[in-house]
Amino acid sequence: MIAFLTKRLMHAILVMLVISVIAFAIQDNLGDPIQQMVGQSVPESEREALRERLGLNDPFHVQYLRFAGNAIQGDFGYSYFYREPALDVIARHLPATLELVFGATLIIVLLSVPIGVYSAIKPRSPLSRFFMGASIVGISVPVFLTAIVLIQIFAIGMKVTLFPESTAWGSWLNATLSTEGGMPSFGRGQDLVHVVGYWDSNLFSAGGLQHLVLPSIALASIMLPLFIRLIRAEMLEVLQSEYVKFARAKGISSWRIYFVHALKNTMLPVITVGGVQIGTMVAYTILTETVFQWPGMGLMFLDAINRADIPLIVAYLMIVGVIFVVTNTIVDLIYGLVNPTVKLTGKPA
């Protein structure tokens, strides 16, 4: 166990080191931060003085070592744009992203388990076929397109005139398919409830929740089909196994077999994949947040790239790196706890 954790820690440090060097190496060509900080008519000599003062003229390794030394002490420097410690800026944007991920995860869990189990139990039923068909469509629609379509339908509204308005059924169909719009599709709204520290929440007010709905659905859409298919596949496998057959022979009710015995064993690989996927979901938030202008870390990152806000870019990459490494480690640990046959040693599998 300790060996495993040490190994993991080394792994994490290696990852962070690689990220920091890469992030640092790309900084020069991301743009000139000085341009952002001074007025248009400021002469070059003043710019040069500022550049010198900020240490932007030092050789690469000097700048990197200075950065790394500070980073170890939790100091990622000041964001050029926000004029605040980069970590503070990230901390302020983090709750928005986490709430979005939380909303999406909730949708995924609530939908994928029942649908996945159902389509495993009744693989040939029309409903299961529909779910499987829908899930492959879901995989094929990129997350930003889902988001745009959601905005068009629920926020802007859609007036359908496809069917002949003169006939009763036509006008009925048109009216049924048309949508009013009006759902909020931009930002977090004004009804935020302050919880603690940097955490202002969308979760505790009607207005806040309304703003969370469309972005969460969009973000969930990318993972939901994967999970449905995964749960179905695992469940099918489990249902073929000897012990389920045995349980059936013993006369245990099918409901109990499905939801107590089979589901428990299904969830193991699902949790593994799920943990890793929730880590990658943080990356998909970049797309979702861009479309919905959700003021979370993803949007902040993209803005930072456009503004050449180097300390913020580097800090973001490091933080996301930490999130990935931590989720992966936790997943491995859970896997080890739930399934004792997996040995938590450092040996490559």
Partner: protein, 525 residues
Amino acid sequence: MTFNKTLLASLVGATMTGAALLPMTANAETLRIGYSADPETLDIHEQLSGGMLRFSHLSFDPLVRWTKDFQFEPRLATSWEQVDDTTLRMTLRDDVTFHSGNTFTAEDVVWTIERLKESPDYKAIFEPIASAEAIDDTTVEITTHEPYPILLNLATYIFPMDSEFYSGTTADGDDKAEIVKSGNSFASRNVSGTGPFIVTERRQGVRVDFERFDDYWDTESPGNVDNIVLTPISENASRVAALLSGGVDFIDHVPPNDLERVREADGVNLVEIPGTRIIGFQLNEERIEAFQDPRVRLAVAYAINQEGIAQRLMRGFATPAAQFSPKGYSGHNPELTPRYDVDRALELMAEAGYEDGFEVNMIAPNNRYVNDAQIAQAVANMLARINIDVNLRTMPLAQYWPEYDTRQSDIAMIGWHADTEDSANFFQYLSACINEETGAGQYNYGSYCNEELDALVATADTETDPEKRQEMLREAERMLYEDAGYIPLHWQNLAYAARDGVDAEPILNALDFPYLGDLVIEDAN
């Protein structure tokens, strides 16, 4: 500690947010503003930017300020007279106090001018001023090196600071007056001005709270706003959504794509104002020989459909331009109008011997001006018609300026707002022959050079008779137009929107600095 609650309040206030904070107390009028940017700092001399100037008009007062039609309105200075060619004497109000309680005197004006001359962002603009002297408590004399006709334009930038408040050293031993770029100076955290609003709380990038200054000198002002909450909402669509959903009362920079939506929405009003920022292109004569031929430059000018861009891409949100100076500026020449004519352009190309055209590359920013990338692409399409094949690259602002500075492309887009609100400024930065020493033509990407034109502008710049000066500048605009030394597209409009009851129109101007001290809110909801 009567007024300087900034620090403490920001600690307390760090935990609050949004509209939830604002219980509507009985008669107090609160204005909730959603601006595209908040002031970068509280030190008004640290950075020259729109956001900072807006803030200056909230917590400070200028000596004089612009009216809607570009006249001067007395503020802290009540009258002024030219003593001789280089000296301006200004009489100041005697009933003004700073937020700190100190009395405003001529010494504060002198102190402020000296500080402006130290500021990296302002020193270039204030270079013409040689010195300032306090004659008595309410009289100040400003002397320039040369006769300087637009000294009053500069006076709109002089927001007297509380010299007593900003003098001395902090507990850490730092000079309270020092200007530190992106640093943590005393002045960047503490304010004492004469303006209508006191900063009560500030979180960079989150919100700034203001409270009306009880002892504000301008008792004539109709303004009835007691509190202001300024929230920066940098994303265009979010800002519009915040207004439409009632989250804020007043927003700036409504994007062209949302104008229709805001115009038609119930309960909000759109206020559109022709702006003064010229958007246009510069042709690099150093790299493309053809651009040294005035006929080719004219062909480019003839090939561009300014009206089409203003109507389609900008949705009427721009005034098509054929010169630098917008209406209201002294140099604006009403005779110069856009001249879209592809046939004429082709003729000119043929005359110059370029009927087969040539290939160029073009750069433009994609997040600086309204619809900048789309405009650049449209211009590229238009130039294709006269056989100039454009290879367009667009990039974010942070990459654009370094790229622009290298002058390694053939055509570049630039928008320019004259900091002095004066026509000569355009010429000095954008079209003057490049001179490294004087800094002339610092943004003359194309290395266009017309010494006759430069001489005319130089003469105008020392001409103190406004009539004669205006004539010269108009002539300068005509010369540039005929020589096509700069390819203007349009002046980008400004659009604000406010909810019903917030009477924004009277306090807005083409300068993009709303005079919120005079804002009237009619209802009490």
